[in-house]
Symmetry: C2
């Protein structure tokens, strides 16, 4: 299976490491032989139709800060041109999410789909801004658009709700979908001020380069858009979400909540309305997890409320979700 | 799809209610048209090849305590003879679990499979005592053996681990798999003695007719056998589980645990050894759920630890898991 990887940060690098460490097992168990034919980052690209040497690629990235130093002949083909001109089966889009125009991810994805490539996106931007039309474009071009890694990192939340709960009707859900704000709120509950808690989170590398994505709830809202479309069959995008971040949560709010045996959590919820905002959650509720954990509770018609808790982020976790998507694509292709 | 239901207690009755209330939706969405052709309970049976009138069946059971009063001509065909002589596609086995000889469920299941019927069992006995050989028998007869409802009630724990985590290696797991003992231990943590907590659980109808199944850990051990076989690919049965119940847990044990910010929970765990026993679990661990809740934490190679929490029992919840199994069987049959 020929793969192009857009973006080669933590997730992209974790993915190729996973390909390396699991290559025998993936072939023996699932018949999957991933061949990475092109990779690009913001500085340049690496191309090899017969399959890039992944160890060498990671070494080049580490040593020179870009994949363009992979071979002696520096390759300056742009990412978009690579997608346009290189034959591949699957595009893996891992560039950073933005919620203004979702570029460059949006163009990568639409260009690839028009070229009949299947797409795996862990970039939430394009999905948050245009989920319904991207799914239509995929259907029109008869390709698969997969995005398991966009919600819950390695925890297969989307798959659980759609797959494991098949035959069941989910009536509502609510979740803590952003680990960074959960970490900050947890530390505030332990006595830190917002400023100190934010500083600590930054020091630990938990905060996005654009801190607004975490603090103003945009990351959680993007995930809510994806869940609402995929699980509930809604056709919504970011502007449909009523979104409040955590900047105005005070230590007093947190103390008042504690008196009621509650904690304040940034909840993304779908219950008639789609909303992201700080809410009081009972400490006895399984949803009330601490630290950087993510949690989501699905309420179903016949099976009660079910809560899934896991690490919401991490390079290797997200890479493992890309691998799941690849296996699904492999399986679908094999059917034809 | 022609269905025989063995046992017509809470689960069987919930299932036919689900068939009734969802009939249009099941056909429109999944192409499933369940036709119940035979039902038996301990007192007799009801048969109608053109499909039993489910409303009338539930009414007869309610009024006379048995399905044998469904039609004017009382039907005394035995359950086993029904399986032997009635043509059906799927057998749904809901009789009570026992861990001595697993009868009558064991004979129902093996007879049905030899007759090329697919089997859905929510009866844990046969699986606990003979999982590996039952799967072999199913494979030999080219039928499906499904058992989603045996672990976690309506919470699709087995499916999550096997399906949603495909491509991922689960290295260990631990869970609270018996709601009754969790309820008792939770109340003991709140100050009740073992005796009072047990009495309260009995009054609420949470305790099995044979209380040993709950208190001595047999129910949890049976679920552990199913998980170990299905998720970890082990070939084990009940005697392979090191099993201790909760009868010897004292209020002192619970107080000592509380001092360490822990609670005592009956954990079923698979980490080299297969074991059921009371263990201290940190109150901060998402696994540490209270009341009748069930929880299980899967530790995977690349996606960290993921915890699923839900109601572990209930007629409608278990019926919804049977429905999931039926949909899977429907889908597989449609492929051929």
């Amino acid at each position: 299976m020929r793969i192009i990887i857009c973006g080669f940060g933590v997730v992209g690098q974790s993915l190729v490491k996973l390909f390396e460490s699991r290559s025998e097992d993936l072939y023996a168990k699932y018949g999957l032989k991933p061949r990475v034919v092109g990779v690009f980052d913001s500085k340049g690209s690496a191309v090899d139709l017969s399959g890039i040497d992944l160890e060498k690629l990671v070494a080049a990235k580490k040593k020179f800060g870009s994949v363009k130093n992979y071979s002696k002949i520096k390759n300056n083909i742009s990412g978009l041109n690579m997608i346009k001109n290189l034959d591949a089966d699957v595009l893996v889009e891992t560039t950073a999410s933005n919620y203004k125009d979702a570029e460059p991810g949006m163009t990568h994805i639409t260009t690839a789909m028009k070229k009949k490539m299947h797409v795996i996106s862990v970039n939430k931007g394009p999905l948050a801004l245009a989920f319904p039309s991207l799914l239509e474009l995929a259907a029109y071009n008869q390709v698969m658009l997969k995005f398991s890694g966009t919600v819950g990192g390695g925890t297969p939340i989307l798959d659980y709700a759609k797959g494991s709960l098949r035959g069941e009707r989910i009536t509502s859900f609510a979740g803590i979908l952003n680990g960074t704000t959960n970490y900050i709120l947890t530390n505030m509950a332990n006595g830190l001020s917002f400023e100190s808690a934010l500083k600590d989170a930054k020091n630990k590398g938990y905060v996005e380069a654009d801190e607004s994505l975490d603090l103003d709830g945009l990351d959680a809202a993007a995930k809510l858009v994806i869940l609402a479309n995929w699980i509930m069959g809604m056709k919504v995008t970011m502007p449909d979400i009523k979104c409040t971040g955590i900047r105005n949560v005070t230590t007093d709010d947190i103390k008042n909540a504690a008196k009621k045996n509650c904690a304040i959590k940034l909840l993304a919820s779908c219950n008639r309305e789609l909303e992201v905002g700080p809410k009081e959650v009972s400490l006895d509720d399984p949803l009330c997890v601490n630290g950087t954990l993510n949690a989501i509770a699905f309420t179903s018609e016949h099976s009660g409320t079910q809560t899934i808790i896991g690490k919401g982020a991490g390079g290797m976790e997200t890479a493992s979700s890309i691998l799941r998507d690849l296996l699904d694509i492999r399986k679908e292709i094999a059917k034809n």
